[in-house]
Amino acid sequence: MSEVGAAESLLALSQQEEVEDLPKDYALSPSEDEVDIDGERNHQKLLEAISSLDGKNRWKLAERSEASLKVSEFSVTSEGSGEKLVLSDLLGPVKTSSSLAVVKKQLNRVKSKKTVELPLNKEEVERIHREVAFNKTSQALSKWDPIVLKNRQAEQLVFPLKKEQSAFAPIEHVLSGWKARTPLEQEVFNLLHKNKQPVTDPLLTPVEKASLKAMSLEEAKMRRAELQRARALQSYYEARARREKKIKSKKYHKVLKKGKARKALKDFEKLRKVNPTAALEELEKIEKARMMERMSLKHQNSGKWAKSKAIMAKYDLEARQAMQEQLARNKELTQKLQVASNSEEEEEGVEEEGDLVPDAVNEIQMDADGPNPWMLRNHSRGTKEAKGQDPEQLPEPVAHEASESEEEEDRPGAEEETLLNEFEERRSLRRKSGLNQDAEPVSRQEPKDSSSQEVLSELRALAQKLNKEKNQSGKQNMSSTRTVPVVQREGPLKAEEEPLLLQRPERAHTVQELEELAKEGCFQNEEVPRPSREGQQTERNPNTQAGVPKEKKRKEQMIDLQNLLTTKSPSVKSLAIPTTVEELEDEEERDQKQMIKEAFAGDDVIRDFLKEKREAVEASKPKDVDLTLPGWGEWGGMGLKPSAKKRRRFLIKTPEGPPRKDKNLPNVIINEKRNVHAAAHQVRVLPYPFTHHQQFERTIQTPIGSTWNTQRAFQKLTMPKVVTKPGHIIKPIKAEDVGYRSSSRSDLSVVQRNPKQLSLRHKKQLKKNSVD
């Protein structure tokens, strides 16, 4: 703020100067301004009045009325009057004049008003601006200091910066703390409450719970497996159908068609027996189809194919046959019906059908006729129904009917349906077998459809029967043929086991008997372990018997040795002694020998070692530098040595190194040389924040390789310091990212507006601030 002060003082100075300058201006003014005299004069008057206010150093301008010799510099003359000018004379008119009071007032007003400061010069203004801006920015930036520090110390930085994902909480926790607030939410909650949906507990709705209770897990699994099977089969059939559709072989199709026709006839036959009305309808259909066929020109030998065949027929036997076949078919079709029925070529089934066809045709016309075989049949059917009352029989034919009706269009589809039906049946079966109570209503429903007049008890009995039957059949279906042999196998096995159990106590007495038993085929498995075990024992026995004498021998040996060696050292007791030693007859002699050997063996060894060590120590010692020049300053020559004094003087002693590691270890020579190659791998320059090597060593003490760490630890230790996502823009950090309000951002914008002002000095100061 000293600069501001300086500016103020400067201002004051300039004001003074201004005041002092005034009279000079005045003196100059008359010579300068002559252009507009009136205004000038007024102005002069004013100035006069002003100047007269200040008494002491203003002189009144004398009017030159007459010529005088001497005109003073300030145009004051005291000549001629002979009397001194008195101040009061000068001031007299001032007081009286009224106009001057106004001026005085004005002047006072002017004085009371502050003078407008002069604008500072450019550099200073800029400096001040810079300072202010710096203070502001440093303040704004200091908010970021903790973040910068945090980022510097962070183990890992991940860019681009993201919002931290909330820690994974189980949905239960989330929901339990949640309440409906908005009307929409409340509405939704109300709905949920009404429907008994779980609101806070998201696990299961009551319906779901009930369903869970209703079906056991196993059942559900089975059902699922069934469904899977059905789906697989369906897809299989679909694939098959598709494949068959693609087949282009004409022969195949011919055969297929024939087969179909045959089958249709057969089915029709069946249907006629079972359900004549349906059969009639069917018949009509067939007839219609035949009519259509007849109307068409399909088999007239006039088609494209027929024409081409006709050309070929001359040469090709097959083609000829094919043509003939077609002609024959044409004939067959165009023949009148009565004639057709008589034809010999037809098959048996067709024969029957042939009998039926005319009746069926007639039937429509004479519905009410009494002696009609069809009517007879109808009657019989009614009786059958009444008789049978079999609930099983009824649905089946219905299904057949449906399938037959569809048969001609798409066979595979029908097959699927039958399959699905089968599954349905099976499921129901299982349900029945599992829960009898459940089974009853199900079975009840079926008969109800067919006839409602039946008695309940009867039904029940029937249902039970049914259950049994179906169970058996279902089982066989399910486990196919495999189960059968299993059951068969089980049977005999059981049969075998039973006698075995009975027989055992009697028989398993002696080994021989057991062996006999083993010979019998069926018992082999059971009995084998026993004899083998027995065998083991018997085998072991000789072993152990053989082992006993061995051990005894060993023990005897040991005892002998013990006796021999106890005198020497008790600790050798249990040692087994090498055989060579045993072979020595005279132990004591050996001992003596050894004693002597041991006593004298090491002598030279120790001496050698000590010598070696001394040499090593000498070699490793730093050597003194001898700078003596023999013959310099004294006599030199053979046999003459430089004096001790001189030698002492010119001997530069090197400082003694650190003590050797093996100084106090007489039996060890440790090499003091540095392993230079290994040193090349060592750190030799301390990295930045460390001031002592021990500090740094502590930070690199833990190995980071996967050999020494667990996998997790290894991954953590080798984590990269900065992680960036490839292909993503790394935006600069924003205030929102770190939880500041946007106000700090506006602060930052100041910086961005005049970034040049952040000079080096400012940065330094900023740093200082951040440190503080």
């Binding site: 806070t200 507990d201 040692l575 030693v581 230079v676 090349a680 030799r684 502590r698 003490q701």
Partner: protein, 610 residues
Amino acid sequence: METAPKPSKDVPPKKNRLKAKRKKPRRYWDEETLTAAGASPGLPRNKKRNRELRPQRPKNTNIAKKSRVSRKPQLPKKPREGRNLEPQRSVSGAQDPFPGPAPVPVEAARKFRRIDKSKKLPHSKSKTRSRLEVAEAEEEEISIKAARSELLLAEEPGFLEGEDGEDTAKICQADIVEAVDIASAAKHFDLNLRQFGPYRLNYSPTGRHLAFGGHRGHVAALDWVTKRLMCEINVMEAVRDIRFLHSEALLAVAQNRWLHIYDNQGIELHCIRRCDRVTRLEFLPFHFLLATASETGFLTYLDVSVGKIVAALNARAGRLDVMTKNPYNAVIHLGHSNGTVSLWSPAMKEPLAKILCHRGGVRAVAVDSTGTYMATSGLDHQLKIFDLRGMFQPLSARTLPQGAGHLAFSQRGLLAAGMGDVVNIWAGQGKASPPSLEQPYLTHRLSGHVHGLQFCPFEDVLGVGHSGGITSMLVPGAAEPNFDGLESNPYRSQKQRQEWEVKALLEKVPAELICLDPRALAEVDVISLEQEKKERIERLGYDPEAKAPFQPKPKQKGRSSTASLVKRKRKVMDKEHRDKVRQSLEQQPQKQEKAKLPRARPSALDRFVR
């Protein structure tokens, strides 16, 4: 089957000699039932139970013993009241019975700590301090993770325990075989190979394969667990030593003249003539170095991954036939005839250390897997155990009736010694303790003189090669029960082996990093600048930073005469000299002041002093 008592046998009941061979995995319900049974907190109760169980040990029932052993006393069951007792209840009513992170025993975690916090650090700035704190927190977290993962080590070491007063050394192999399960019993076998002389043998690093070479040229390799023979050849030459390289696919055989390398089908791949008259072989798996000691006194390091000889060091101690490796720091130990054991690294021309161990020559050396203990036996019939951690002092020693010719350490620190035709095995108290030489743990007599000894890794088996063939004997508690599937997996497939091979090659450690203290590599090289310079000069043979002597420029017009050249040279020299003198003078006053003080006035008679 092993538990069934057999009273009907007419063998005198051998009391207990029970060896449960490690097979009891710990189940979580074991712990559960324990805690459920006892309301009191776990640890003291556990101990109490232990004490109770020890005297009234039921005879011939392994189950009780197993359970006793299976419970780790050092794994205290922490009462869980430290953490929040009431876990958050969910709507479904499900409740976490063990809320919070699983507890980790402090003891187990301490084992994995690497930073020694007791050491005081010099005062550090805040920034440095934060870095240090981060490092320490990281280390702690990692150690806890490692301790937690120890739970996955399901297997436990086997053991052999005598009844009161019974000496386990009296239990012979037949007894053990009888007591253990079939699978373990099958691991004891003898190969009678009397024809081709004493055998040396070697197990592959995974412990699955066994290679042996007879002195008369018989070389064979087999999967010894399934007894499937991989190859069998006769090299028609004396075989001194045999060793698997990094995997079972390669075999190095030290033959009479040269070193040969075969593959697992017996096909000769290499004949290395630079390694001649090799007596002993050692393989350093992490460095891919094959160390060979030869009759000529050379220790040669062969890098098998690139086929280069890394270093050939002259030991200057005559014939070398005693060699072993230190598995901890890959230093090679050589035993010499003058009773010393020297420690070698390929980076140094001289031994790293020399230890005088015996008064006579050294016959055998072995180093345990942690690199802490070294066992030596000498011609003076002594067996000594040395501490290798800095001091190289003998811990224990004993005289054997006939000195041990072969020594071997097992993974868990059992020491086997072959003396003549007898193998003695000593065991220590715990895993980290040296074997106590008082009482042997097991003894076994062989049909021939011992020529080679090795414990099988990850199997409680000691392989002994002798003049009568090969014997694989059971030593309960010898091996590490849990293997590292990524490091050496006995059950690995060919594909896995190949992948492991690639990984191992990628992680190959340079040969020059072998030194006595491998952790020293993690220290800052604080050598002074001067020393460094000196070393550099020594290494290069000249000073690369030395100033070239002044060479005056040739001048014309007769000013380049010899005299003027010399003059100019002299001028520069003098100037340099003056600078030096000035510099020294500036330093001198302080020195002189120091020097003058103690000195008395020189007397006139001083001149006569000679």
